[in-house]
Subunit: 253 residues, 2 copies
DNA sequence: CCTTACTGCGTATCTCATACGCTAAATAGC
DNA sequence: GCTATTTAGCGTATGAGATACGCAGTAAGG
């Protein structure tokens, strides 16, 4: 009665199954499988990750994988924890606002290494060791804010939502751009052809102002957008802390 | 040289192909196909939408669909425009902030009718008639803010990103909850079993405070969270308008 | 009437996930 | 050591799914 009762995925992510004593030595490990799947996703996208392709990379048969993961979905869950790796350690004594900015940039960097990450569904609370480390890192930086624990969780969850949303949009658009750059480059022309000013007056006004005629360079823009939105969110958090957080050190009169 | 040069999907979304003169009368229309696919997705989720199942619903063969859409992906693009329907007309004379709140609530309501919407990739700028109508509606409400057109677009894109991110997270979690409620209910217990205080000090502190021991009821929470984040974003927009927007009417001294 | 463009559809191919059961390896208990 | 038990890898089979290809019948244009 130790690691029983844990959801199977969680036990697997934490590698809690005691190694088997009998039977042949495994020639394959869960880590190998997950690493191969991640490498494949990095190289060819999440759609290229099939059990067969992963096995091929490992020089094993397809069905051998099923001795280590119950299903492809379970493999995805493992990938989603493994891909994030560990956060860089939070600098000592950093204030919460700088800390959360540091944290968000870290998430962004981590996901950029594995863009498919944002296509995986978030199936639950952050239960894997790496996800939990990120969660811990963000919670820790709020330690001295005086917020009740529950509010800290709310703040961090909101931040996660913001970051994930921003990342997903950026990567979806980037993928769409690669598939079909013309849809972006010709967007202004398209609207001119298609948008009736009586039905879409505001759009047409914008088009006439030439806003969509410049080539989109979201690679550069998106970083700035991300920071803009983030600082906005942190402004809100600051107001929240002032309202709800306990007394904080003030310069004595 | 009229609707040439338009991306194929866009032309299709706007129904710009002139009806064929010769040959048998089509027994199937694009609208039927898209409607059937949407009904199927509503009933059984996006994963249940296969060309075969859609055709079955229409009493046609699978391959008949390919006379109307080039691929399943194209069908998805059609679905993503059709599912949003049209926004409710923006009330006359509404101020921008109330207007954007109204707009965001409208998006939320529209997506709630078709939860799978947020699983579809955003492949490009809003080019379909319905998407464009939403875009126009949000842009229109910013008319009197004095913002340059380009800034209006930025504000609206940011809002779209926020809403989409929030919605996706909420629906992913809701789906995860349905699949496996225990992962949520036992989350506190799981962490107690698995989280070492030396590695995850902040998480353990939160767990000890009992934050994760209450049954999650995000159905109720998520509405409030959504509004909270939205108002935060709008606060930021207000500051932006004050800074960048042109002069606005002031009570004369 | 016949050519032509077009619709619906049957068939075939290829890729996938995954169930089932066999074989062989390694250990535990004798 | 010997044997029973447990387990890893894998071959095969099944069923779903996307989609290429080509045929057959249909309706408008000439």
């Amino acid at each position: 009665m130790d690691n029983d009762e844990l959801p199977a995925d969680v036990a697997l992510m934490w590698r809690l199954r005691e190694p088997s004593r009998r039977g042949p030595k495994p020639s394959l490990s869960l880590d190998d499988i997950v690493a191969a799947a991640i490498a494949l996703a990095d190289a060819e996208g999440l759609a290229a990750v099939s059990m067969a392709r992963v096995a091929e990379r490992l020089g094993n048969s397809t069905m051998a994988l099923y001795r280590h993961v119950k299903s492809k979905d379970e493999l995805f869950v493992m990938m989603s924890d493994a891909a994030l790796e560990r956060p860089d350690p939070m600098p000592e004594g950093i204030d919460w606002r700088t800390g959360l900015t540091f944290w968000a940039d870290g998430v962004l960097t981590a996901i950029r290494r594995h863009p498919w990450y944002s296509k995986l569904p978030i199936s639950g609370p952050p239960a894997g060791p790496n996800n939990l480390a990120w969660f811990d890192s963000a919670l820790g930086v709020l330690k001295d804010t005086g917020l009740p624990e529950e509010a800290k969780v709310g703040v961090v969850m909101g931040l996660i939502t913001y970051v994930q949303g921003e990342v997903r949009m950026a990567f979806d658009l980037a993928a769409g751009y690669q598939d079909n750059p013309d849809a972006f480059r010709k967007f202004g022309a398209t609207l001119r052809r298609v948008a009736d000013p009586r039905v879409y007056p505001a759009v047409v006004r914008t088009v006439e102002a030439g806003v969509f005629d410049e080539v989109g360079t979201f690679e550069e823009d998106s970083e700035a957008d991300f920071d803009f939105g983030l600082q906005l969110y942190l402004d809100g958090v600051a107001a929240f802390i002032d309202r709800v957080g306990g007394p904080r050190p003030q310069p004595s009169p």
